[in-house]
């Protein structure tokens, strides 16, 4: 009996971990793309925020959750484009711009949302429903953990091999990584560094936007402020923790996801710890990751440096 309780707990914990890792995974895969191209994107958080709102509007307008996903990607992609323009063409400092983008996205979405609320344009929007994958979802334990999720979860996990393939096995991926290591060398073999970095940032924005979509339409179908609350930064930590390799980064996201799920469950246990401390848990993990791993080398050599370099 005791054992059964533990098993149920574990399965629900892991299932929740897989779910909670999903938005991180989208954002982190996006972040890998732009970091491997040499652009440091602290604005991942802001792009996710943009995504949550874009998805809500998209779903509202189209009446479909997939229309919402499109809206989320569009919003994130546009923020990526803006970031690209300011950091590449305008040559602004990437850290400053990223931070600015986060504040901008938060402010803009809150403002728009409140204006809409005052105007009375709030209604329930369609959200993603769980798809039980035939056969696979019937596997004991595994099925419950992985295969009874909403479609965005499957998409996120499918993107891991796709990203690995694109970044490491294709001519495009090699060019992109060369832009992040030695942009001038890339230019001398005929690569358009500016274009590559623009594209990487737009893609990254779209992926972060999908992460945002999951937050607003993948769980409780509603837009509220503070849905993202630092997940963009957790995704950044996962990238560093996973040393820019999609699979390792995905595992790091999973770790953060499970940590989050655990924290939520422990709150319910009525432990003699203030819930604020439990809430802090995933962020603490993030902070520790930054401190320990951030200077370990093997980051793209030209990360954060504008090009051309003088």
């Amino acid at each position: 009996m005791e054992e059964f309780v533990w098993l149920t707990f574990l399965v629900s914990l892991l299932a929740a971990g897989v779910r909670l890792a999903t938005p991180l995974l989208f954002a982190a895969l996006g972040g890998i793309t732009n970091e491997l191209a040499g652009v440091l994107n602290i604005g991942l958080e802001g792009m996710m925020i943009g995504g949550t709102f874009g998805a809500y509007i998209g779903a509202l307008l189209s009446g479909s959750e997939w229309g919402g996903a499109l809206g989320g990607m569009l919003a994130g992609g546009l923020l990526g484009l803006l970031f690209a323009f300011l950091s590449i063409t305008w040559r602004g400092d990437q850290v400053v711009l990223g931070t600015g983008l986060n504040i901008f996205a938060l402010g803009l979405t809150s403002f728009l949302f409140r204006s809409m609320y005052k105007a009375g344009i709030t209604q329930f929007v369609p959200s993603f429903q769980v798809w039980n994958i035939p056969l696979l979802s019937d596997i004991p334990l595994i099925g419950q953990i992985f295969f009874r999720q909403v479609p965005l979860v499957y998409l996120a996990y499918l993107l891991i091999p796709i990203a690995t393939f694109l970044l490491y096995k294709t001519t495009w991926g090699l060019k992109l990584r060369c832009c992040g290591e030695h942009p001038r060398a890339a230019e001398t073999v005929g690569v358009n560094v500016i274009k590559t970095r623009y594209l990487a940032l737009c893609l990254s924005g779209m992926l972060a936007g999908l992460g945002g979509t999951f937050l607003s339409l993948g769980q409780i179908p509603a837009f509220t402020e503070g849905l993202v609350s630092g997940r963009g930064f957790i995704a950044l930590a996962a990238i560093i923790f996973g040393r820019w390799k999609p699979l390792n980064v995905a595992l790091a996201c999973l770790l953060f996801g499970v940590a989050d799920a655990l924290q939520l469950r422990l709150q319910g246990f009525g432990l003699p710890i203030r819930y604020e401390f439990l809430l802090m848990f995933p962020y603490l993990l993030t902070l520790i990751t930054f401190v320990i791993f951030v200077n370990r080398g093997d980051s793209p050599a030209a990360l954060g440096k504008p090009y051309p370099d003088q």
Binding site: K175, E187, G190
Partner: protein, 508 residues
């Protein structure tokens, strides 16, 4: 009736701000020739070649390629016309493998997949055809500079090149590597590739080229057949007046021991012993040369002495006092100056001005600093002095160092470090990349320092330089000193044999 030249650049003008880097330059390359391009540091050689490779757009002028006028907007266009370039500062990604470096930007028959199998097969072909073997799985950062250069050549060949531009390819090579490299070049010419070759080493130019074009301060001075050229003629064309070449320096004058290494070893995890039981004494007023093929521990030896790497065993003494844990700060305080080998990476902050780069290591100290504030006037005055002493060619003292020509960047580091050396100087390849005139002034400066009683450790791949300058020469081989001989021409055979691993005792 002459056939139309392969390449003709006509009346090329390129200005940077108020500086005319290329001033109505005409330049022509015939099919199948090796054409050398000569000129002082800052004469405009790299600029002209960057224009030919599409990296810069000329302000005016025309380029004719195989008889047709072409416009090159970017390197993509140059590659399409089968023009390849190997840059003064190598364009390789150290973290990528050889294979990855070759594959970047290469069109693939099975897009979007990387053409890995095909490339490996072609790599084998090239290895046999041109004598360019290489292990494609190694990371570039693991390769000695000679092999890195081979990767660059392969990169160019893979893209198909009828014309190969080589911007100071031999500056970083040891004499033996240069021989291999020349064999490769001759091979390429036999296979129908034409070559533009830039170098400051006149003897190399005379040996390898068919014709020579000389630039001076952005203008073309003239083109001559190599058969009719001699070193003095070329030097005079470059500088505009007769230059004294290669005169020896008086030897002797060593006084008391300054720096002593006793049984110093350096053990690197995974690599093993990179320095083995080094026993050396450098006296004040002495130039001690270190010979050896690149990668035999020279740079490690320099780093150990300068406190950049702690040594694993043995003892280091400065004026008889042991220094158990040397750090760069301590050594600087003791009056040590250091000219490192990899100046692109460690020496300069590219977007700082010349003046600021010159005080990069001493902005904390008087006279440059008072009460925590930088005294820009003093910094400026200092820069003026150095720029004059080393003839640094720049538009202004406030110009970012990244905009200087390769050789002038070198001079900035030299100027800074040589001034820091008040008792002891470690100089690694101090004249690498410098033109004849600048080389001569650096050598004279080194000699003057020695006369003042400073002890100099001169690490160089250039045997002529070592023989001309050093009082004694020690030879490093695989981290070990195989012998120390007097710095005179008679020692040359012994040095060459030690460089290949024979001990002095075995030779005598």
């Amino acid at each position: 009736m002459m056939p139309a030249p392969l390449l003709e650049m006509r009346q090329i003008v390129k200005t940077f701000g108020s500086l005319r880097a290329n001033d109505r330059v005409d330049f022509e390359v015939r099919s199948g020739e090796i054409h050398a391009l000569l000129g002082e540091n800052g004469a405009g050689k790299t600029t002209l070649m960057n224009i030919l490779y599409g990296l810069y757009q000329p302000d005016s002028g025309e380029i004719f390629w195989k008889g047709e006028k072409i416009v090159l907007h970017s390197p993509r266009d140059a590659i399409r016309h089968r023009i390849g370039m190997i840059h003064q500062h190598l364009m390789l990604v150290p973290n990528f493998t050889v294979l990855e470096n070759i594959l970047v930007g290469l069109p693939s028959p099975q897009e979007p997949l990387l053409p890995i199998q095909e490339t490996l097969a072609r790599l084998k072909d090239f290895a046999a055809q041109y004598g360019l073997p290489i292990d494609p799985t190694l990371k570039v950062k693991q390769l000695p500079l000679g092999l890195q250069q081979r990767v660059e050549i392969l990169k160019a060949l893979f893209r198909g090149a009828d014309l190969l531009i080589l911007d100071e390819p031999t500056a970083v090579l040891s004499p033996l590597e240069v021989e291999d490299f020349f064999a490769v070049l001759r091979n390429l010419v036999d296979k129908g590739v034409s070559i533009i070759f830039i170098s400051h080493k006149l003897d190399e130019v005379l040996r390898i080229s068919d014709r020579i074009t000389v630039l001076r301060q952005g203008k073309r001075v003239g083109t001559i057949e190599t058969r009719q050229a001699t070193q003095p003629i070329l030097a005079e064309m470059m500088v505009g007046r007769a230059v004294a070449l290669d005169h020896g320096f008086p030897k002797g004058g060593a006084a008391q021991p300054l720096l002593e290494l006793k049984g110093v070893s350096l053990i690197r995890p995974k690599v093993g012993r990179v320095l083995k039981d080094i026993n050396l004494t450098l006296h004040s007023g002495e130039i001690l040369g270190i010979a050896g093929i690149d990668g035999n521990g020279q740079e490690e030896l320099a780093d150990v002495i300068c406190g950049l790497i702690p040594y694993s065993e043995g003892q280091m003494l400065l004026e008889g006092r042991p220094i158990p844990n040397p750090t760069p700060r301590k050594m600087k305080a003791a009056g040590l100056g250091y000219v490192p080998a990899d100046r692109q990476r460690v020496g300069l902050v590219k977007n700082f001005s010349i003046a600021h780069n010159l005080v990069l290591k001493s902005f904390d100290d008087p006279p440059f600093n008072r009460h925590g504030f930088l005294r820009e006037k003093v910094v400026h005055l200092n820069a003026q002095q150095v720029v004059e002493a080393f003839d640094i060619r720049a538009a202004a003292l406030s110009q970012p160092v990244g905009e200087l020509s390769g050789g002038n960047q070198q001079k900035v580091i030299l100027g800074r470090e040589l001034k820091l050396a008040t008792r002891l100087l470690v100089a690694v390849h101090p004249t690498r990349g410098l033109d004849v005139g600048a080389t001569e002034s650096v050598r004279q400066f080194l000699h003057a320092q020695k006369e003042k009683g400073i002890g100099i450790l001169l690490i160089s791949a250039d045997l002529d330089e070592l023989l001309a300058m050093s009082d004694r020469i020690a030879v490093l081989f695989r981290g070990e000193i195989l012998g120390i001989v007097p710095g005179e021409a008679a020692s040359l055979p012994a040095i060459s044999r030690m460089m290949l691993g024979e001990r002095l005792e075995a030779i005598a």
